[in-house]
Amino acid sequence: MVEFYKKGGSKVLSIYWFVILLIIAGGIVAMVYSFYNHPYDVRHLEGDIMINSIADCISRQGRINSGLLNSGEFSQSFKNNFLNECHINFNVEEIFENEPQYYFEVTFYNSGNLNNSIFNIPKGNSNLLASCNIQDEKEYKREIKCIEDDFFSFDSSGELYLIKILVAIKKTEKNVK
């Protein structure tokens, strides 16, 4: 009689064991699907590369490009032609319907007064800028990636400038689900 109950008990245990295994398998499958169904978000890398490429164009070896700033005067034509001068192309995939997915802003400050900017170069889709201020809020965290960096550079006469570069990248459809 005792043997009978023992056998019954082990069978019940086996069933429970497989139920637990199935629950674990279900959990793992759900996690794996959820992980691989989300695209890689590479916008922070793209933003860093764009900042480096803009910085290389504006300043070389600590000196501001003489085409942009000469004798204390910023060149308006360099600003207007900035994308060509810095070899940046805003072409994107068809799914974005030719809406620029990038925005960047280069701001110059005189080292004597870091509160007021003296020159500014904005390019791209300025609508993205509004999202930069709210990107830390959880709801908007994935919408647009904004990256900012700054550095100091001299002009030809030895004047020191602070240069801030802000880059905003949308490309949500390709990086976020």
Binding site: Y36, I49, N89
Partner: protein
Amino acid sequence: MENVIFIILNVLFLAILILFISRQGQGASLLEESYSKQIALLIDSAKPGMTIVLDMTKAKEVAEKNEIDFEDIVISANNIITVKLSEKGGHSYSYFNDVDINIYPNLEIDSYVIEVNKYG
């Protein structure tokens, strides 16, 4: 005998689970996405005169399974890189660096060569 069956079923269960997880990481769509983004970012950070050799052994294996020629898996047009490893698939990603590039396969080392020539 019951114990043996129990152990076999457990091992079978674990094997299926591991197989499932490993296969998920090698799917065509996942590789298409990662290679297209990787190539686009490499071009973004490149300067004229550079030559980049990208190992695409995994892509070749998947493309061969799906009967796609290795020569046809990477397409570059209008600052957009498209990687296609299956008949119905394909993933595109754009790059912002305005450079003129040549991209071609090197069949001997299962790689793609990206030559960055000059600014566009």
